[in-house]
Amino acid sequence: MVIILIKKEMVVIGAGPAGLSSAIEAAKEGVEVLLVDENLKAGGQLFKQIHKFFGSSDHRAGLRGINIGKELINESRQLGVDIWLNSIVIGIFDNKQVLIKQNIDGKENLKTVQADKIVIATGASEKVINFKNWTLPGVMGAGAAQTMINVHRVLPGKRFLMIGTGNVGLIVSYQLLQAGAEVVGILDAAKEVGGYNVHATKIARKGVPFYLNHTIIKAVGNNKEGVTGAVIAEVDNKWQPISDTEKELKVDVITLAAGLKPLLELANMADCKRTYISELGGWVPLHNENMESTISGIYVIGDLTGVEEANTALEEGRLAGVDVAEKLGKMTTEQSKIKKKNITQRVKNLRLGPFGEKRLKAKKRLIKEYYKISDKEYKNNFDFVKEIKDELDQKKMIKSANNIDKTKSPVAVIECNQEIPCNPCELACKFDAIKIGEPITNIPILNKEKCTGCGLCLPRCPGLAIFLVDRSYSLDKSTVAFPYEFKQIPQKGDIVDAVDRQGNYLCKAEVVKVLQSEKFDKTPIITISVLDKYIDDARNIRISD
């Protein structure tokens, strides 16, 4: 095997959102970039993210991850980024030499690339939880099931039990339902849902049982079939299982959503100093405010430096890209200063709110001079359905107080009650009726006077948390419109089962409108009519797929 030596100004390892955005940002300034990825396709894990992303327009919020991936790849190609796929970085050696095993048509070539700057964006891998029989085939990472259904389009089983109620557990449960699987439950030892309410309510509306305060005792199965069931039990306040609460669920797949851990083998090999921060997923390489590691000229970005969302990965990539361009003399310090300031402000905004705060603090420990901690006190204890109900009850009281009459035409109802970094609804409204403002983590506020009931915000909300309620529909009936992303789309005139926020049957409902548009990006809007007394509870329908 011949080793070929090549020179490149910047080598980016890993073509996920972080790596792609750093390559793009640097290439924009004229840096000669080589982007290397061991997979056959660029985009990292974006191609299994078929849901609409949170964030702001800077993060292409409201677009599905899969489309963001396509855009980033196109952009990097247009900018002339050299992309090597099916190429494994074997090591990073002294003086920034990167040894790469390139695989072209089954032939392996070894190439050494002499880089001026190296950006490591190796991402993260799923953490495991071990319980009895956890190694049986049929126990897999939630991300693995997500890859199977959304990338390979193979459903690896029929009945799934999801362990973990973080965003990954919630989103993958929803996508399993979309793929036609049965999710027999989602389990968490904590007493609260870990991820966003809006993700939890999406699957609650489909009737998925939440086993909070529960743990998995063991997988049931054998060496021939793999998993055939799961034994779960309630836990006491010391997280210990309560023995007489054990019960067996018939499942053939158990998916684990226990978080992710950074993949820092290459960063370690390059001698980047690291620290252990559990909020960021475990061991993480240290970096400064420009994402440069303790080794000058080697940058670390994305999930590798702390497990967060794709949006923060994009921004961290941009920061590194700008800094590389500056250090290589492709832009002036003044130019890069302005860019960095904007990116930094956006990253900071993404880390506000009760979810981002922990990561913000953790990152502050990594670069203590960098972030300010928000002094807001956040409620940490929530029951996701109850909280939305409470808020609604308050609204009802306001409603009766104001004596809103039946003649008032449709109006949006925003059931988004957590400070998460997201604002597509604000941009979707052409009538300036939805206000989020700065920071992006503010809870959306609806100006009912300005709301015309056009419903354009419904398909734009990545959390599917906006509904359109029309109390003026008829003398005794009201309508509710909601986004519905499942296979079986009902027809106008169909009689369907209306269900509440937990998927419980409420009443029969008539489908009065089905709106599908290319603009909605595969999120049809269904309008049903129900008796007035059900209108504050009816939030979904049940039709057998």
């Binding site: 061991e38 997979n39 056959l40 894990q45 078929i50 599905r64 891998s125 799923e126 190694t135 049986l136 085939p137 049929g138 126990v139 897999m140 990472g141 991300g143 693995a144 099931a145 890859t147 199977m148 259904i149 959304n150 390979h152 389009r153 193979v154 459903l155 690896p156 089983g157 029929k158 979309q178 793929a179 036609g180 060496n223 021939k224 793999g226 053939d252 993949l263 992303e485 499942f486 296979k487 789309i489 595969k522």
Partner: protein, 108 residues
């Protein structure tokens, strides 16, 4: 058990790809050109990829992205191939791996 997802609300209709055949433990099974070995096996209801050296326990797909190596099998005579990131080829010979190879020849 497992099945292909033909209709999907977001991804749309699945476009059938060119069919290829692979040989799993001596038996011909159908796969789609370019798909990963692990996906083809799942679609055929196969989820045991290998048995461990010491305890002879079954293992299957765990991470699905080439990180954990639990899905390793013997492919065209070469053991320890990560089947979740290796695409099928027509006529490919895929065998359950016992220990370090098909025959269970282990280094003790």
């Amino acid at each position: 058990m497992a099945k292909r997802i033909n209709k999907h609300p977001i991804l749309g209709e699945r476009k059938p790809k060119e069919e290829v055949e692979i040989v799993f433990n001596g038996k011909k099974i159908k796969a789609e050109k370019g798909e990963m070995i692990a996906a083809a096996l799942q679609a055929n209801g196969i989820r045991i990829h290998r048995y461990t050296i010491k305890n002879k326990e079954p293992r299957g797909v765990f991470c699905g992205i080439g990180q954990c190596t639990d899905c390793a099998m013997e492919v065209n005579g070469r053991p320890n191939v990560r089947t979740c990131v290796t695409p099928v080829q027509d006529g490919m010979i895929v065998n359950t791996q016992y220990g370090l190879n098909r025959n269970g020849d282990n280094i003790d």
